[in-house]
Symmetry: C2
Subunit: 192 residues, 2 copies
DNA sequence: TTTCGTTCTTGTCATTTGGAAAGAATAATA
DNA sequence: TATTATTCTTTCCAAATGACAAGAACGAAA
């Protein structure tokens, strides 16, 4: 394990002892995901999750009309997980697809459980991560209700520029809950 | 502690030993909240949460135009908590108000921590609760994007009839992300 | 019961957004 | 370079929803 191992940024010495850090990291397996391949597919029970070292991943659900709705974008340092599937043992309802070749670190559920129940800092950390994801989801909700299409786009542009750079117009549009036509109009309007 | 203590429904013998159950329950304090009073207010740091035995609570945020946006409704057996505030130590951005006299059970953060780190089942349970809330939020998100106003209302009517019965039209409207005018029209249309 | 305040309904009109389809631009491949 | 596929833009029109304001219904309190 090199001294600048990627996961040391995630499980940092600020929050973990050296011994804890090493134990935690030892359970992760480095994986490379080819462009366009899936990390998880709808119907699958997740028994592992990933942390992204480098790459870009999009998750999407299929609505009742068969249309893809982007549910999230994941970039460097993100945890790519379906919490409901991982913890509640439900099949995921989404597809998680790498848009580019993606380097990530994989941890399976049994190892996660060992760490969770034996290392206090690990469970504090996990709780923080899930809570952070919850807060993010809640904010997205509020934005959907209080802001119009243009404002939502501008907000995304400001807070997550890497999404605008990496994702296609169509994918961004469904993420924002608008059509590609509208988003195209909005972009034009902004550029004037 | 009576044998049919309310909290035994929450921390049930299915998931906890008798001893665990008793210890957990011993930390909770029964509280009655008067109609129209606040459980938490914007700006406050939560260091406790409530479980609702009986009553009805609404949480709302104030948007940039000073308008109240209902963020959640809580009824019997719900946990009333701002996860972000409780775990991440941020001030809450919402108001939590009892619509009727409400009987609930209060647990403070320090006691929560003791239980969380000492009782494996308690942390599994807490993780499930937070995850459940996350999944719920995620579903609400998807509904906001994929369904129109009428469909969202019908969905709420079907899945949470107690909300329709207890909350005012205006409060339900902002929860669904529509105006009270629209909701009134939708109700008329449905009744025809 | 009368008054007052709140909530809900209704009407009119404006605005936002969507749907469908065609064309332009861009990227991918032979 | 020519060809094809994909993504993005644009146009026209329709549908959904919002804003505002007036009035009706309802409930609380004097």
């Amino acid at each position: 394990m090199t001294s600048n191992h990627f996961l040391k940024n995630i499980y940092s010495e600020e929050n973990f002892s050296k011994a804890e850090q090493e134990e935690i990291i030892s359970y992760f397996k480095k994986t490379t995901i080819e462009k366009d391949t899936f990390l998880y597919k709808e119907g699958q029970y997740l028994d592992y999750f990933y942390i992204l070292e480098k790459g870009f991943v999009r998750s999407y659900a299929i609505d009742f009309n068969g249309k893809e709705i982007t549910t999230e974008f994941y970039s460097n340092h993100s945890i790519v997980i379906d919490w409901g599937s991982f913890f509640l043992k439900n099949p995921t309802q989404e597809f998680y697809q790498a848009s580019v070749e993606t380097i990530c670190w994989k941890l399976n559920f049994d190892d996660f459980q060992k760490l969770f129940h034996s290392i206090k800092n690990f469970r504090e950390n996990g709780r923080k991560t899930l809570t952070g994801n919850y807060v993010q989801m809640k904010n997205k909700n509020l934005l959907l209700i209080t802001e119009n299409a243009k404002e939502r786009y501008l907000h995304l542009l400001k807070t997550r520029p890497e999404v605008i750079q990496n994702a296609s117009l169509k994918h961004i549009a469904t993420y924002l809950g608008i059509t590609d036509t509208s988003l195209s109009r909005i972009r034009k309007e902004i550029s004037l």
